[in-house]
C-alpha cells in the first residue's frame, strides 16, 4: 500500500508540472486554433532565465524572498518573450492557412532552443538547491518540501486561472474570442490584446513549470523543452485541447499514469504506454476527456 501511495505522490508532482505547461498549449489553441510548438522551449528558457536571475541579479541569495523574486522575474521575462513571439511569429500569419502557422511555430521552437544553446551553452547547467531538502515520512511514504510546494502552488495557480477565465470580464472576453473572433470583435472586444493576454498567461505559467523542473530535478539542458513540451502537449490532448480544466486533468492523469507504469510495469515502457494511452483516448473520445462542449472551447 505504501508503494502505491508513494507512486501517487510521485505522479501528482510530475503531473502538476505537466499540467502547468499543458495550460499554455491549451489556452493558445483555444483562442487561435494553433499548436504553439515553441511553448516547450519557452519552458526550458525560463529555467535558464531563472538560473541567470539567481546568479547575476540576486547575487546567489537563498532567502524565501529571493525565490519569490526569481519566480516573478522569470515569469515576467517569459511573458515578454511570449508577446514578442506572438508578434513576430504568429500575428503576421493569422490570416494564412493553418499549416503555415504550424511551420512557423516549429521554426520558433528551433530558434528558441538554439538561442538557449548560444546564450547559455550546450552543457547541462545545474540549478542551486534553493528549497532546503526537508522530508516527512508518513509510515513509509516520504514527501519532500519541494513536492508540497510544487503541488500547492500549481493548484493555486490553476484554480485562480479557472476563476479568472470563468468569473471576470476579461475572462468572458477570452471565452468570447475563443468561440468566434469576428463576433467578439463586433462586441467591442480587442481580440489582439486578448491574444497577447493569452500568451502572457500561458508563458508565465510555463515559466513557473520550467522553474519547478529546475528546482525539482536541478539539471537543465537547452533541449529539455522538447521532452516536457511533448508530454504537456499529450496531456492537453488527453484532457481535451482548448479546455482549461481539461489540461489540468490531463496533466495530472498523465503524471499518475507515467508513475504507475514506470513503477509497476517498467520504466522502459512508460513512454510507449503514454502514446498508447493517447491513441486509445483519441479513438474512444477524439475530443479528449473534457472536450465535449466544442462550442465553448477556451
Amino acid at each position: 500500500m505504501d508503494i502505491f501511495l508513494q507512486q501517487l505522490a510521485n505522479g501528482l508532482t510530475i503531473g502538476s508540472m505537466f499540467a502547468l505547461v499543458a495550460l499554455g498549449y491549451t489556452m493558445v489553441y483555444g483562442v487561435m486554433r494553433l499548436i504553439n510548438f515553441a511553448h516547450g522551449d519557452m519552458v526550458a528558457a525560463s529555467a535558464f532565465v531563472g538560473l541567470t536571475i539567481y546568479t547575476q541579479v540576486m547575487g546567489q541569495a537563498t532567502s524565501l524572498m529571493a525565490v519569490i523574486a526569481i519566480f516573478l522575474l522569470a515569469a515576467l521575462s517569459m511573458a515578454v518573450v511570449g508577446i514578442i513571439l506572438e508578434r513576430i511569429a504568429y500575428r503576421p500569419l493569422r490570416g494564412a492557412p493553418r499549416l503555415s502557422a504550424v511551420v512557423s511555430a516549429l521554426g520558433a521552437s528551433l530558434v528558441i532552443q538554439n538561442g538557449i544553446m548560444l546564450i547559455w551553452g550546450p552543457r547541462m547547467r545545474i540549478f542551486p538547491e534553493l528549497v532546503p531538502q526537508v522530508y516527512w515520512d508518513f509510515g513509509g511514504v516520504v514527501i519532500s518540501l519541494i513536492q508540497v510546494i510544487i503541488l500547492v502552488l500549481s493548484l493555486v495557480l490553476m484554480i485562480s486561472l479557472y476563476l479568472f477565465v470563468e468569473k471576470t470580464r476579461m475572462g468572458a472576453a477570452i471565452r468570447a474570442s475563443s468561440i468566434d473572433q469576428d463576433a467578439a470583435r463586433l462586441m467591442g472586444i480587442n481580440v489582439n490584446s486578448i491574444i497577447a493576454l493569452i500568451f502572457i498567461i500561458g508563458s508565465s505559467l510555463g515559466a513557473v513549470g520550467g522553474l519547478f523542473i529546475g528546482l525539482y530535478y536541478r539539471g537543465i539542458t537547452f533541449n529539455m523543452g522538447w521532452q516536457y513540451g511533448l508530454y504537456a502537449f499529450i496531456a492537453a490532448i488527453i484532457g481535451g485541447i482548448g479546455n482549461i480544466p481539461g489540461a489540468m486533468l490531463g496533466g495530472m492523469l498523465l503524471g499518475l499514469f507515467n508513475a504507475f507504469i514506470a513503477g509497476y510495469v517498467s520504466s522502459t515502457w512508460a513512454d510507449a504506454f503514454t502514446f498508447i494511452l493517447l491513441i486509445v483516448i483519441l479513438i474512444v473520445r477524439p475530443t479528449g476527456i473534457l472536450g465535449e462542449r466544442v462550442a465553448e472551447k477556451v
Binding site: Q6, G121, Q133, R218, S267
Partner: protein, 375 residues
C-alpha cells in the same frame, strides 16, 4: 556528354584542392558529445586534443606535418555518431579521438574500420574490442575489469547482503551492470533487483520506490553522471538508506552539483582522478590545460583519450610512416610502454589497453573525494 565533362572537371578541381591539403597536415578527427547531456566530457576531450595538437605543432608537428584538428559533435547519440564517422572519413582524417560514450564509439567503429582510420576511445563496453577491428584502440580499461573489482568490493570487502544494480539502456551502462551482476553472483552475493532507467528522463522516483520495497543495503549505478547525481538526490529524498555506489562514468564534478547536499556519503568507483595522477607528464599537461582553459579537465576520460592520441602519434613517429595499419601493428606489439598521462600505455592484441587499477572514492561534505579503498 556535357554532363560527363562537367563531372570530370569538378573531380579534377576537387582533387587539385584536396591534394595540397592532404600533403600539408596530419588530420586528426575528434568525435565527441560537444553538446547534449555529456557536453561537459565532450568538450573536455575536444579541448584536450586541441591543446595537445597545439603543443606538438609548436615543436614542429609530427615528422614535419602540422596537426589539423577536425571536430564533430555526436551529441552522445548513435545516430549522430554514424553521421560524424562518415563526415570525418570524408574529410580525410587518419585518426579519430573519441567518442566519450561506448554507444557512439560503437556506432562509428565500422565506418572507421572500413576506411582504415584509427579510432581511440575511452568507451569501456567489452563489445567494442570483440569485433576484431584492428583500427580500434581502447584507451581506458574494459567493463569486465571494473565489474570484477566492484563485485569483489561489494561482496567480499563490504559484505553487503542485498545489492541493487541499476543501469540505463546504453551499450556501456547495460554491459557494465550485467557484468557486475554476473560477477556478484559468482562470488555468492545477492542482487535483489536489477533495474533500468531511461537516461535523461530525470524522474527516477517510480523506479526507486520499487527498489525501496526490496530494502537494499547497497545500490550500484552503472550509468552516467548526468543521471547518477539525480538518482542519488532522489534516493535520499525517498529515504532509501542503502549506500550508493556510482560506476566510473559518475566521476564528474556535475555528479556532486546535481546531487547537491545528498552527494555527501555517496561512493564513486573509478580509476584515480586527474588531480592525483602521480606522473610528471600528467602534472605538466594538466597545468597547461588549466592555463589555457581556466579549469581542470572535467574528468580522467578526456586524459585517457589524449593518451590514446599520443600513443598513435608515437607509433607513427617510431615507424617513420603515417600508415595507419603499421601504426596499429606497432601498438598491438609494443614491448616498451609509452609513459602516459594516465599511466604507462601498452595495448593487447585485441586493442584493449593493458593494466588498470580502481579506487573507491567517498564524497565528502564539501564535494571533494576521499579515497575509501585502493586496489
Amino acid at each position: 556528354m556535357n554532363r560527363f565533362i562537367r563531372t570530370i572537371l569538378v573531380a579534377v578541381v576537387v582533387a587539385l584542392l584536396a591534394v595540397p591539403a592532404l600533403a600539408d597536415t596530419l588530420k586528426v578527427g575528434v568525435q565527441a558529445p560537444i553538446t547534449g547531456s555529456y557536453a561537459n566530457e565532450g568538450q573536455g576531450i575536444e579541448n584536450g586534443v586541441r591543446l595537445l595538437a597545439e603543443q606538438i605543432n609548436a615543436k614542429g608537428g609530427v615528422m614535419g606535418k602540422k596537426i589539423e584538428v577536425i571536430a564533430c559533435d555526436d551529441q552522445g547519440t548513435a545516430m549522430a555518431a554514424a553521421i560524424c564517422a562518415k563526415d570525418l572519413v570524408n574529410k580525410g582524417v587518419s585518426m579519430v579521438i573519441g567518442s566519450y560514450t561506448s554507444t557512439c564509439a560503437e556506432a562509428a567503429q565500422k565506418t572507421y574500420f572500413n576506411a582504415g582510420v584509427l579510432q581511440t576511445s575511452d568507451g569501456t563496453a567489452d563489445s567494442l574490442t570483440e569485433k576484431g577491428y584492428w583500427t580500434f584502440l581502447r584507451n581506458s580499461f574494459p567493463n569486465s575489469a571494473e565489474a570484477e573489482f566492484v563485485a569483489n568490493y561489494l561482496v567480499k570487502v563490504k559484505k553487503y547482503k542485498r545489492i541493487v544494480v541499476i543501469s540505463d539502456f546504453s551499450t556501456y551502462a547495460d554491459g557494465l551492470a550485467n557484468a557486475t551482476q554476473a560477477a556478484i553472483k559468482k562470488l555468492g552475493g545477492k542482487v535483489v533487483s536489477r533495474d533500468k532507467i531511461k537516461a535523461d528522463s530525470q524522474n527516477f522516483t517510480p523506479v526507486l520506490t520499487n527498489i525501496k520495497s526490496k530494502n537494499p543495503d547497497a545500490i550500484f549505478f552503472a550509468g552516467y553522471y548526468s543521471d547518477g547525481g539525480q538518482l542519488r538526490a532522489q534516493q535520499k529524498a525517498l529515504g532509501i538508506k542503502a549506500d550508493f555506489y556510482g560506476g566510473d562514468a559518475n566521476d564528474n564534478p556535475d555528479f556532486v552539483k546535481l546531487a547537491g547536499s545528498a552527494a555527501q556519503g555517496a561512493f564513486i568507483i573509478n580509476v584515480p582522478s586527474p588531480d592525483v595522477l602521480p606522473y610528471d607528464i600528467a602534472k605538466t599537461f594538466i597545468a597547461d590545460y588549466q592555463k589555457k582553459y581556466g579549469e581542470m579537465p572535467p574528468s580522467i576520460w578526456g586524459l585517457m583519450n589524449i593518451d590514446g592520441m599520443r600513443a598513435i602519434i608515437h607509433a607513427m613517429e617510431q615507424n617513420k610512416s603515417f600508415d595507419t595499419k603499421k601504426a596499429a601493428d606497432y601498438l598491438h606489439n609494443m614491448k616498451k610502454p609509452l609513459p602516459g598521462i594516465t599511466g604507462p600505455i601498452t595495448f593487447a592484441k585485441d586493442g584493449n589497453r593493458n593494466g588498470g587499477a580502481y579506487v573507491v572514492k567517498r564524497i565528502k561534505a564539501d564535494g571533494t573525494y576521499a579515497n575509501e579503498y585502493v586496489q
